[in-house]
């Protein structure tokens, strides 16, 4: 099976600065791939190369088995973080405009639940509704590849679950989906994750594979603020977690010692994806 989008050992340099180094990535039909990375990690540059908006310095990029072109772009659906809708047109007019651009002829239908907004200007609609219009527009020409940038930003939890159902339905129908996000809740919805740091891919796999056997130390103290102060003074990196604290990259013995005689329970717990992400990014910076 040919991949929908792929690049092999791609590098992009801007003058002396290397934004992407030797990155290989494939998106297959039916899969949802999450691309994670801190700002400056190279995600946007990589996506711009995949879309053919900029060329590579080295390496090869293919979209639907051929070099990216205007032709291949018609098989793409894209929802940018800013949604890319025209505020001074109605949802229906936005859909018509998009259909005309893609030359598909068929204007996609707005989801039934959005019917009551059909005659309102997009700029006057709640952001959650605007987001659903943007999705409907991106999916209307039944794209083979969907590229989504923080697709559920600003959406309430139930609305977020419903949007992810729409994304998963597109994938179940054979589309490939590439999602970039800063939020681990969104990352958990992806079948496979690719983590970039400093222009490189530093981890790849399911969320469980990436977290692996990583652990952090959890501290539940009678007074979290006193424990926070004691751990801080010991130079440990401390994060707040409800009424407790989490200390990544530390040994339980060292944490216990730093707490002195403060009453607290100290135990090792599995790391979260965000904690593992942070560790990978820090390692890459140190290297």
């Amino acid at each position: 099976m040919t991949s929908l989008a792929g690049c092999a050992e791609v590098t992009k340099q801007f003058g002396d600065f290397t934004a992407v180094r030797d990155v290989s990535l494939l998106v297959q039909p039916g899969e949802i791939v999450g691309l994670l990375g801190a700002n400056g990690a190279g995600k946007t540059t990589l996506i711009r190369m995949l879309l053919g908006l900029i060329g590579t310095s080295r390496g090869r990029v293919e979209l639907f088995g051929e070099p990216p072109s205007r032709q291949t772009r018609s098989r793409l659906g894209y929802v940018p973080q800013g949604l890319g809708l025209y505020d001074d047109m109605t949802p229906a007019e936005n859909m018509q405009f998009s259909a005309a651009i893609f030359g598909t002829g068929a204007v996609g239908a707005l989801p039934e639940a959005l019917g009551r907004y059909a005659a309102d200007l997009v700029g006057s609609l709640p952001l959650g509704v605007q987001r659903r219009v943007a999705f409907a527009q991106a999916l209307a020409h039944r794209p083979d590849l969907l590229i989504l940038d923080e697709p559920t930003s600003g959406v309430d939890p139930l609305g977020r679950a419903r949007l992810w159902e729409t994304i998963a339905e597109a994938a179940d129908g054979g589309a490939g989906v590439l999602v970039t996000t800063h939020y681990m809740e969104e990352a958990q919805e992806c079948g496979r994750l690719v983590i970039m740091a400093d222009g490189r891919v530093v981890a790849e796999g399911t969320s469980a594979q990436i977290v692996g056997s990583g652990h952090v130390v959890r501290v539940d103290a009678e007074s979290w603020s006193k424990a926070f102060g004691a751990l801080e003074r010991a130079g440990l990196q401390v994060a707040l977690a409800g009424r407790g604290l989490r200390v990544p990259g530390a040994d339980p013995g060292a944490v216990r010692a730093a707490l002195g005689d403060l009453p607290a329970t100290v135990r090792q717990v599995p790391a979260t994806l965000e904690e593992r992400f942070f560790e990978l990014t820090a390692q890459s910076e140190a290297a």
């Binding site: 709640p126 600003g154 309430d156 939890p157 139930l158 958990q188 994060a239 990014t281």
Partner: protein
């Protein structure tokens, strides 16, 4: 609890109603923000988070209801309307702010240096604020809001659009403010962030959906939750949602039935905060669409703390 989290003082709001023209932004919302704790206000765009936070910060007067907050000079607010000057450096911005707060020069500089260091911003202290990345700018604005050790710190979505590395710096600042005894109220759209807070208030269309500590909200979830491999068919589909590649199905059982559905049997799972809040939203939707019967609504308002 001892020390900062003993919560001698509790700021907050009671039964707030706010209208913007013909739109009702808040309908009878209450919030409690104890000293030394981080309280999250959660909801999607348009839920009423910013309106509530503006009332807490004293920049908006509610139509009715009461707000308990410290005097303006003892509060910090992000985004502050006249917050950051783009043509001043990071250090100059903080110097200026410290001076405005009436802090002795050296105290202000020492605090600023420590916060900048811990938030990973030291290297940028000579940069013009207008040249900072989004995440750096957010961190600078939060530092500016907490430099005078306020009694109440109100942060409106400080982490939105921020990458995980900057987010970690922001969370250190938030924890530090609370550890020093400040009551922190923070708006977010993400429940994994809310889970890090002591108490959570979830808003939906200007009303309270659920509130309490994350544990209380989870414990108060009505009915039972099952993990199922496929999307259920029929009317159960409306009570199901996709999560991490699998499906969750919520059944609004009565108390007796719940006893017969222990965790581990028939796919029944223990919910987390994200599940419990999703269920609360579903219960409200089901309640609006049809007569839910008493079972659906049971437990919705047991949260308590806020």
């Amino acid at each position: 609890m001892t020390g900062a989290e003993s919560g001698q003082v509790t700021w907050g709001a009671t039964e707030l109603f706010v209208s913007h023209g013909r739109t009702v932004a808040l309908r009878g919302v209450s919030l409690s923000a104890p000293a030394g704790q981080v309280t999250a206000v959660v909801g999607g765009d348009g839920a009423g988070k910013t309106t509530l936070l503006r009332c807490m910060a004293g920049s908006l007067a509610p139509g009715s209801g009461t707000v308990r907050r410290p005097p303006k000079e003892r509060s910090g607010y992000f985004p502050a309307s006249s917050g950051i000057y783009e043509d001043l450096t990071v250090a100059e911005n903080l110097d200026f702010r410290a001076n405005g707060y009436g802090l002795p020069r050296q105290v202000g500089r020492d605090r600023a240096a420590e916060y900048l260091e811990r938030a990973g911003l030291s290297a940028a202290s000579g940069r013009l604020a207008g040249q900072l990345s989004g995440g750096m700018r957010q961190k600078l604005a939060v530092i500016a809001a907490m430099l005078h050790h306020p009694d109440l710190l109100v942060l409106d979505e400080p982490t939105t659009g921020v990458d995980p590395v900057s987010r970690s710096g922001l969370w250190w600042l938030i924890a530090r403010a609370a550890a020093e005894g400040c009551a922190v109220v923070l708006a977010t759209t993400y429940l994994d962030e809310a889970e890090r807070c002591t108490a959570v208030l979830v808003l939906d269309e200007g009303t309270e959906l659920v509130s309490g500590s994350p544990e209380q909200i989870v414990a108060a979830m009505p009915g039972v939750l099952r993990a199922v491999p496929f999307k259920p068919e029929g009317e159960a589909a409306a009570r199901a949602w996709r999560r991490a590649g699998r499906w969750r199905r919520w059944d609004p059982l009565s108390g007796q039935d719940t006893d017969q559905a222990p965790v581990g049997r028939g796919g029944v799972i223990t919910p987390d905060l994200q599940d419990a809040v999703t269920v609360a939203a579903l219960a409200r939707q089901v309640g609006q669409d049809s007569d839910p019967g008493p079972a659906v609504l049971a437990g919705q308002h047991q949260g308590g703390a806020a």
